[in-house]
Amino acid sequence: MHLFNTRKIVVALCFFLSSLPFAKAQEMNSLVAKVKAKLDLVNDYTAEGKMKTDVAFIKAPIGRVKVFYKRPNKFKLQRDGGISILPKGGISINIGSMIMSDGFLAIDAGETVVANTKTRIVKLLPNADNSEIILSTLYIDEANLLIMKSVTTTRASGTYEMELSYGQFAKYGLPDKVLFSFNAKDYKLPKGITLEFEDTDQATKNRLKGKKGRVEITYTAYSINKGIADAVFN
């Protein structure tokens, strides 16, 4: 009788332990869903801000930008009357693009601190084999349901990293500042095309060597849920 009870306890324990990862996954799915629900409060927004492009081989002035977003995935960033350079690859610099809309598996990867905030690390794996995003890691502030950082690995365009800081629009999950990092390939153009015949000096060559590219957008004003025509995104 005693042996029978022990067996029952062991089997129950095994069941409990084996179901823990699923419970965790459910918990992470629920956390991601909550974050997404918070972001879904925003149907559309227009934001103004300043964009700084920090790529070793690009010299660009800080420019004013205007950003348009419309749910589910319409996003446009335009420079106020100038030329803007953005890293190519399916991901636009917006928060909505960081969370896969559906068909993903969320895995708990522990906790860490990002910008003095305790965050939960959640790895999102797409269910589809041919998804453009291979892996997305989110660092979520569980208390405020805010994404503090994301690292996204894509099939075609390498790995991108986004760090976000929040201010007065945190209740909508919209950041005041987005720092977008990516691996910039080396750039070289034949002198025959540029019609430049002088060699680049050593100081410039050193400056251009292996540095990560960064685009920093500081938002100064948001206009939320005021409605945006689809034509804006054409």
């Binding site: 690009i58 010299k59 100038g82 030329i83 350079i85 953005l86 750039y187 153009l189 019609l195 060559k205």
Partner: protein, 291 residues
């Protein structure tokens, strides 16, 4: 000397050859503008093919400022020929026609006469450059509009803010004026050594072509002599379109990356101009005029 300058200018602008240069410039710039107006998109896509693999560029790249930059790059290599047509003819042309002796019978010093001739050639050169500025910059701005200036250098890309461009063009054209005056003074100097125009014109162009080739070839042995060739300094106008960045890679609007390069090259060109013009005056004062 003012009267002599007027006379020399009258002689220059009486010749059809003078207007040929203006027509040639108009045609060259017109062809470039037409080509870029029709197929400019393909041109920018070709130039930016490598860059566009990694980045998407949003904005009006093909604008008037960009077109003018292309025009200056192309034309400042070819304009010396048009300048040599006039400058290298200033003395040799008169020697060929036999009017030099008659000219010297006038009650004026040889220095005043040769200085007036040099100044007339310089004015022609500057007018040609102003014409390039009018067509290359202002007409391009009217046709293609304006925006930031996107320049692709061999190792990096520069985007100059629209509000920060115009003074750079003013500086670039002033520098180009020095470069073209150097060509003009070289042609003027060489025109003392022949009694027909063809020789000095061809000699001036030969010097420019040989020096330009030596300046552009990236071969170690030539690199030693490059700093001593005035053609190496003629392309320094491009330095106006490169600015400084701070440690955070933020552009310092209104700055120039290497102002010392511009000053050095300008000094080299000024020394050449003074050298050629001074030598011409000295030669003319001592020259035994036989024609």
């Amino acid at each position: 000397m003012w009267t002599y300058l007027q006379v020399e200018l009258y002689k220059i602008f009486r010749r059809p050859r003078t207007y040929l240069s203006f027509v040639a410039i108009t045609a060259l710039i017109g062809v470039i503008q037409l080509g870029l107006l029709v197929d400019g998109k393909e041109y920018t896509e070709f130039v930016m093919a490598d860059f566009a693999n990694t980045f998407s560029v949003d904005g009006k790249i093909l604008n008037g400022y960009f077109i003018c930059y292309i025009i200056l790059q192309l034309l400042l290599v070819h304009v010396p020929l048009l300048i040599a047509l006039i400058a290298a003819d200033m003395i040799s042309g008169e020697a060929n026609m036999g009017t030099l002796r008659i000219l010297l019978t006038k009650p004026q010093s040889r220095t005043a006469i040769v200085t007036a001739k040099f100044l007339a050639a310089a004015i022609y050169t500057l007018l040609l450059l102003i014409w390039i500025a009018v067509l290359g910059l202002f007409v391009s701005m009217a046709i293609f509009g304006t925006d930031d200036l996107f320049i692709m250098k061999s190792s990096y890309v520069v985007i100059v803010k629209e509000s920060d461009i115009f003074w750079r063009y003013a500086g670039a054209f002033c520098f180009a004026a020095l470069a073209m005056l150097t060509v003009s003074s070289l042609g003027f100097f060489l025109s003392f050594f022949a009694e027909n125009s063809i020789g000095p014109i061809v000699a001036t162009m030969s010097v420019i072509i040989v020096f330009t080739i030596l300046s552009t070839m990236n071969i170690p042995i030539f690199n030693i002599i490059k700093p001593y060739l005035f053609t190496s300094h003629m392309i320094t106008w491009k330095e106006f379109f490169d600015f400084k960045v701070n440690d955070a890679n933020e552009a310092m609007v209104g700055s120039i990356q290497y102002p010392e390069k511009i000053i050095k090259s300008a000094l080299v060109l000024i020394i050449h101009i003074i050298g050629f013009a001074g030598a011409s005056i000295l030669l003319f004062r001592k020259k035994d005029i036989l024609s």
